[in-house]
Symmetry: C2
Subunit: 305 residues, 2 copies
C-alpha cells in the first residue's frame, strides 16, 4: 500500500478552533474525515464536539494523526505547538503532514520545515484566504508550498477545507511570501474602502449607493464589496479584527525592509490600523478603521439599526 | 408627441473620439442610432466614419442632435466645447440632452448644469467607468445625476453605451462625487497592484503565479486583475495612461482638502503616479507605476516578449 493511501485514511487533528479553524474543522467532519479539534478555549471545543467532531488530549492522540492542521494566530504560537515544552512534533508519527496556516514570515516557514524534516515530518507552508464564511463552507483558497510528500499526505484534508489549493512548488516559504502579497493588498484595500466611503459621505454621497455603484465599477475590490456593507450597516461585529493588520502588515513591512523595498501605501494603511487599534478599536471588525477617518473629518458614520 | 418620443428618435453627436469616446460612438452605431463623431484628430474621425459612423461640421450639425455626448479629458475642455468662443450650447436645440462624461469636480458639474438649464438644455452629470474594452462593447457603467428630463432625453444613448446606468438622483454633482469615490479607489488599487507585484517579485514570487493566485483571494481588486497582467507581460501599451492619475487623484485631493478630509492612501498613491510621470512614463499604461517601485528596489521587471 502506498504512503498516500495510508495517509489518506488516517485521522486529522485541527489545533486552533477560532473563527477560521472551527469552520475548517467542521469542513473536515462534513467531508467524512475522522476529525479531532483542539483549543485552549473549551467552549470552542464543546461547540465542535456538539457538531459531530471529536476531541481529547492532544498529546495522547498525536500518534494517530496522518495530518495536523495548525490554525493559530502567528509564528510564535506555531513554533510553541510544534517545538515548545510539550511540543507536538516529537509525538507525531513519521510521515505525518503538518498543514501550517498562520500568516508568518517566509523565513520562519523555511526554518520550521527544516526542523520538521529532521523528524521525518512533512511541513506544508499553507496560508489560507477567504474569511470565516468560506472556511465554514470548505471553500477556502490555500496557497501552499512544500515537498510532494507533504502535499500527498495533506491532500484529503486540503480537499475538504478548500475550493482551490494552489501548489506553489517545493520550497517552504513561497506559500508565506504569496500570503504576504495577499495581505499587503487586503490591508491596503480595507483602508482604501474606509477612506473612500468616508470621503464620499463627507461629500454627501449615500453609503448604500456607494456600495451598489462602486461594486459594479473599476474601483471595486473583494474587500470593498465585503467590508463596505459593514460600514453602511454600522455593524462592527469582528469577522476579522482590526488587530490582525498591525500584525500582518508588520510582517509585510519587515519583509520589505529586509529587501530595501519601499512600500508607501502599505505603510500608510498600517498607520490607519494603528490609529484604530490605539484608540480602542482593536477588537472590532477591521472595517472600523473607517471610524478613524470619520473622527478626523468630524463625520458621523451610520449607526447600527 | 411627447418630448421623450421626439428626442428618442433624434441624432446623437459624440465629441471626443479617444480610447473611450471612439468605443462609445461605435456602440451608438451598433445600436442603430444616427450617430455623428467629432474630434480634433482627423484620423480618429476617419476611423469612425470607416466603421459606419457619420461626421461633418459640428457647428452646422448641432441643431439636429437630440443628445450630445462629451467624452473629453477634463473640466476645461468640457467648458470650452459648451461655452467657448464657438460654444456648442448656443447652437443646440432646446431640450437637447448633454451627457457629460469627463471626470470633473462636482461643483463644476453643478455650474455647467445651471448654465445649460438657462438655455433650456438638459445637462446630465454622467461619468463613466469600465475602460476602453467595455466602452467598445457598449458595456460601460454610467453613474449619472440630473433632472428627469435629462435622463429621458439621454436614455437611448445611455442604453446603447452602458450595461448599467445608475440614476443617482436629480442633483448635478452627485455623479461626479461618485466618480471621485471610484477614482480614489481605482488609483489606490493600481498603485497597490504595483506595490504588491514588485514586493512579491523582490521575494522571488513568480508574477504570473501572483496574478493567478491573488485573483482568487481576498486581496483581489478589479484593477489588480486588469492591470497585473500588463506587468507580467511587460506590456505598457496605454489603455489608460499614467497621466490620468495626477489629474483624477488631484481632483479627489482638492475635494478632500475642501472638506478638511485627510486621505493618506490617496496622497501616497498620487506621489507614486507623480514619480512615474516625472520620470517620463506619463504616456505609458498606468501599470507602469510598477516601474517606479522596481527602480527604487533595484528590481528587473518582466520585459515584453
Amino acid at each position: 500500500m502506498s504512503d498516500k493511501a495510508t495517509t489518506s485514511t488516517g485521522s486529522v487533528g485541527v489545533v486552533g478552533l477560532g473563527s477560521m479553524g472551527s469552520g475548517m474543522a467542521g469542513s473536515l467532519v462534513a467531508a467524512g474525515l475522522d476529525a479531532y479539534g483542539f483549543d485552549v478555549n473549551s467552549a470552542a471545543v464543546d461547540r465542535f464536539v456538539a457538531a459531530g467532531g471529536k476531541s481529547g488530549d492532544l498529546q495522547d492522540l498525536a500518534g494517530r494523526f496522518s495530518c495536523v492542521v495548525l490554525v493559530v494566530l502567528n509564528a510564535p504560537q506555531t513554533e510553541q505547538i510544534l517545538f515548545g515544552p510539550s511540543g507536538l512534533a516529537a509525538k507525531l508519527g513519521k510521515g505525518t503532514a503538518i498543514i501550517a496556516c498562520a500568516t508568518v514570515p517566509p523565513q520562519f516557514a523555511e526554518d520550521m520545515a527544516a526542523r520538521c524534516e529532521a523528524l521525518d515530518l512533512h511541513y506544508l507552508d499553507a496560508p489560507i484566504s477567504g474569511g470565516s464564511v468560506k472556511a465554514a463552507k470548505g471553500q477556502l483558497t490555500i496557497m501552499a508550498s512544500g515537498a510532494d510528500a507533504a502535499f500527498a499526505a495533506a491532500q484529503p484534508a486540503l480537499n475538504a477545507m478548500a475550493e482551490r489549493v494552489f501548489n506553489l512548488g517545493p520550497k517552504p516559504g513561497t506559500g508565506s511570501a504569496m500570503k504576504a502579497v495577499n495581505q499587503l493588498l487586503a490591508g491596503v484595500h480595507i483602508a482604501a474602502m474606509a477612506e473612500a466611503m468616508t470621503f464620499g459621505m463627507a461629500h454627501g454621497v449615500d453609503g448604500q449607493q456607494m456600495v451598489d455603484v462602486i461594486s459594479q465599477c473599476a474601483g471595486s475590490s473583494w474587500m470593498f464589496e465585503n467590508r463596505g456593507p459593514h460600514v453602511v450597516a454600522g455593524d462592527y461585529t469582528p469577522h476579522s479584527a482590526v488587530d490582525i493588520w498591525p500584525k500582518d502588515l508588520g510582517i509585510v513591512l519587515d519583509m520589505a525592509r529586509g529587501k530595501k523595498f519601499g512600500a508607501p501605501l502599505t505603510a500608510a494603511a498600517l498607520q490607519q490600523f494603528l490609529a484604530a487599534s490605539g484608540s480602542g478599536l482593536g477588537a472590532e471588525d477591521d472595517a472600523a478603521v473607517a471610524k478613524v477617518y470619520a473622527r478626523n473629518a468630524g463625520l458621523d458614520l451610520p449607526a447600527k439599526a
